[in-house]
Amino acid sequence: MIGENRIEKKFEQLEERNKAGLVTFLTAGDPDPNTAQEILNGLPAAGADIIELGMPFSDPMADGPAIQLANLRSLANGMTLQKTLDQVATFRTLDNETPIVLMGYYNPIHYYGTQRFIDAAIEAGVDGLIIVDLPPEEDEELCHPSMTAGLNWIRLATPTANDERLAKILKNSSGFVYYVSITGITGTHSAQHSDTNEAVARIRKQTDLPIAVGFGIKTVDHVASTAAVADAAVVGSALINTIEEGLTAQLPKSEIVKNLHTFVAELAKGTARDR
């Protein structure tokens, strides 16, 4: 399975179909491992082009309240890094095309063992990694060995990066670039459309990699306006909010799964460029 680049292929397909990609972010194991596996398995059919799975961590420093709670729910229900990898492996028995990117914080990987983790991730069918607290300054930790092993290393580009910093961010990036459209944590405010346009244009000058935009994208309209300038739109907290709402309303788990997939399908409508 190594050598085949699902991410590259996916963006080629999207281009052929003249649409942007919908990237869904969910915390692995949220609200509980079984429900999460069902949610995961149904994401491609619902309209997700690329799947980001958050590896639960007790101290998600870059995340807002929605994702913080998702992390705690997942951990409280016994989720672990190993189980996250197992869920990817299970998903891969059903779908060998949709890229899966693991996103999270370094410590659980550090504890698991970096090389052991890289091998297990590749074995499970993971395509790339986004590790929030590993900036270019710490590339020797996980970035270099991951790229050597064939995993994509996807970095966050931010509004705080000037052109010089951007070059540093892009240097060891592969797969795609994830532009974080606001300064701040996940699930809070949304960016000004004009700012995002400008930033995407600035990044394009320095790279041929596809650009995904995320943080603050909550509705099909946000997806549509993002699709007009970027190669993909990332939706996270808004999806997680539907899980939380379902839990609060004490809906049966099957209903929560269904509502989530319905919302993904709705968001996916925003990705067409020739509407």
Binding site: P56, P60, M61, N107, H110, D133, P135, E138, L156
Partner: protein, 409 residues
């Protein structure tokens, strides 16, 4: 302990960190990309000003006339007699304005923040001592101050919460995660990534991403520099042993650093063992944790088998942190400093002993250091000398201690 026969011993123990902020494998800059430009900006500013004569003279002026430095090095004669062994000196940083060593650091950092043109200060606090020290310098320099504090800590440190409010700070109760110091630090970091343009984050201990561990150490090193000179003046010799308590490690590294290259000086850091390291309810990152990455640095952390951070426990809110500054992890790793631990009960005994024999109510944090002194002093010769960092006074802790002793006040 003898480090001189270690073939791998570095030429100096005082030359770290390297350019990337590493002490051996510890330290570093493990932060979100949004923060990287800021951290680099803080580093550049710190390097520019740390030896700048004007910066130094301003820092000295406020240290002396506002904080009350130098703090005395005091021979605790009655305690010495009671224990019947080594001579015990207290480095009396509890006499500083605001009652702890924390202000040495907040003063340095706010002077830097002012030079960087920052308009808003944020801080995290556990016991509230760092929060008070930050709110104090913010009042002094007329800058708005937001302090993140775990909801649980707000409950057990009510007097400090009110103090901070009197000083004009806004207190944000932190309910995320486990609602304690580590979560307060998470929320302060979340504030910082949201307000990158105008805000300076005054971290309260010698931890966090580079350059904080180095910067905080440098500002706290005044403790060890003074103590060294004062003892030479009084006794014409260096101490045999120096002892300090460890939360994140700022008062300890402040005392230790100027002595690291004196091979004859035995250095001991005292962690909080809570109900006992084997009980799982403790704050002893070195004695009961494993290396990991949190809050911007690689260091020893309390964590479970999945790399999830475990909540610390100590009767002292100021030691109740699941990590430790990276320089201590390195000093532990190479064996230059010995790290021991002291339980809640032992600290409570040390606390009362200090009150009774010296007429000094210590903070529960240095009461841990004192408890260890009571273990080692009797076995030492009468000519030998111990310096213990009495880094905070105990007014803030009287309610906690009363409760632990079953007294209603």
């Amino acid at each position: 302990m003898n480090t001189s026969d270690q073939s791998s011993a570095p030429e100096s123990y005082r030359s770290g960190p390297d350019e990337g902020g590493h002490f051996g494998i510890f330290g570093g800059r493990f932060v979100a990309e949004t923060l990287m430009p800021l951290i680099l900006e803080v580093e550049e500013a710190y390097n520019r000003y740390k030896d700048d004569p004007e910066f130094r003279s301003e820092l000295n002026y406020f240290s002396n006339d506002y904080v009350g430095r130098p703090s005395p090095l005091y021979l605790a004669q009655r305690l010495t007699d009671e224990l019947g062994g080594a001579k015990i000196y207290f480095k009396r940083d509890e006499l500083n304005h605001t009652g702890a060593h924390k202000i040495n650091n907040t003063l340095g950092q706010i002077l830097l923040a002012r030079r960087m043109g920052k308009k808003r200060i944020i801080a995290e606090t556990g016991a509230g001592q760092h929060g008070v020290a930050t709110a104090t310098v913010c009042a002094l320099f007329n800058l708005p101050c937001v302090v993140y504090m775990g909801a649980k800590d707000i409950e057990r440190q009510a007097p400090n919460v009110f103090r901070m409010k009197l000083l004009g700070a806004e207190i944000v109760p932190v309910t995320s995660g486990t609602a304690t110091l580590k979560d307060a630090m998470n929320d302060a970091l979340r504030d910082w990534v949201t307000n990158v343009d105008d805000t300076f984050y005054i971290i309260g201990t010698a931890a966090g991403p580079h350059p904080y561990p180095k910067m905080v150490r440098d500002f706290q090193s005044i403790i060890g520099i003074e103590a060294r000179a004062q003892l030479l003046e009084k006794e014409n010799r260096l101490p045999d042993t120096i002892v300090a308590c460890i939360g994140g490690g700022s008062n300890a590294i402040g005392l230790f650093h100027p002595f690291l290259d004196d091979p004859g000086v035995n250095i001991i850091g005292v962690e909080a063992a809570g109900h006992g390291v084997e009980s799982g309810q403790h704050a002893a990152s070195l004695n009961g944790g494993k290396p990991g990455v949190l809050h911007g640095n690689r260091t020893f952390l309390l964590q479970d088998g999945d790399g999830q951070i475990i909540d610390a426990h100590s009767i002292s809110a100021g030691l109740d942190y699941p990590g430790i500054g990276p320089e201590h992890s390195w000093l532990h790793d190479i064996g230059r400093v010995e790290y021991v631990s002291v339980t809640d009960d032992e600290a409570l005994e040390g606390f009362q002993l200090c009150c009774r024999t010296e007429g000094i109510i210590p903070a529960l944090e240095p009461a841990h250091a004192l408890a260890h002194v009571t273990k080692i002093a009797p076995g030492m010769h009468k000519e030998q000398i111990i310096i213990m960092n009495l880094c905070g006074r105990g007014d803030k802790d009287v309610f906690t201690v009363a409760k632990a002793l079953g007294v209603e006040i």
